[in-house]
Symmetry: C2
Subunit: 155 residues, 2 copies
Amino acid sequence: MHTSEAALTAWARLVRASGAVRDAVEADLKAAGFPPLVWYDALLELDRVERGLRPFELERNMLLPQYGTSRLVDRLEKAGLVERRQCPFDGRGQYVAITQAGRDLRRRMWPVYAAAIERHLGAKLTEAEAKTLGDILAKLALAPSGCCGEGATRD
Amino acid sequence: MHTSEAALTAWARLVRASGAVRDAVEADLKAAGFPPLVWYDALLELDRVERGLRPFELERNMLLPQYGTSRLVDRLEKAGLVERRQCPFDGRGQYVAITQAGRDLRRRMWPVYAAAIERHLGAKLTEAEAKTLGDILAKLALAPSGCCGEGATRD
DNA sequence: TGCGCATCCATGCAGATGCATCTACCTCTG
DNA sequence: CAGAGGTAGATGCATCTGCATGGATGCGCA
């Protein structure tokens, strides 16, 4: 099986460009005195759901490892942005719910975040390019080849 | 200034997809008993240039922070894959040169690496899509908006 | 020549991450 | 109900990263 030139180029640029853009957006957030991107993402997930989320749900939604989620919640909790609640129907589990402080912080972060995205991504692409980019990237997420077995063709 | 829907979607998918693909490729390398991606990248850079590279060159080429480069070279050196050489015309500087062991390792890693790229990226896109993706991502690297001032329009 | 300042690289320390493992609880089966 | 096996989540330890700073050398200018 041959790996195409185009795929190799796309890989190289994907890694570089995404890293650079991500770092730039992170830097803008930090410069404004805000916590890292992953905090925002977690708060956003949690803000969507009234009852809170189970850690394993957060883990799936954010593509984080289990221990990463556990410790991220630790930090968010320590900062007063979320709280852990006992899960009523599963003694092993818990719900993680956003607090008002968490909602406030997320809301304050959004303008800075949006501006950073615009500056580091939006401003460099036309509308059509952004659309195309999103569409192609969506295909990469399909049929997870790394985690669920059944990645290559079955023989 | 409004941030377009398409740009926001592209951002979200860029972060997710690139993270997922990168993690999957890393995992394949690790599963084959190889060191992380960044080692490969560094060895590749160093393998291109006979005389070796100054750390600050490696730093620029790989978009790494200065201390990150310093410590990456430490690890590579400890593993016998590179060696530091005194710089003949700058007493502060040095050259980092790949060793034969480094070249060998890089060569052994390549088939696994290429297969991983094909599996996690190439196989999911058509040739045309990969080409388009690469072209669009290339535009993101232009006119660095995060690091050199002069990102937004001058007022 | 000597002094101020910039550049190159290293490093101490704190915080974050990866890995393996642990505890506690659930569920299924006989 | 007992016991096996699976799932939810936490955590000790080693490694890695970010940040600030330090030491050493080069360079420009009086």
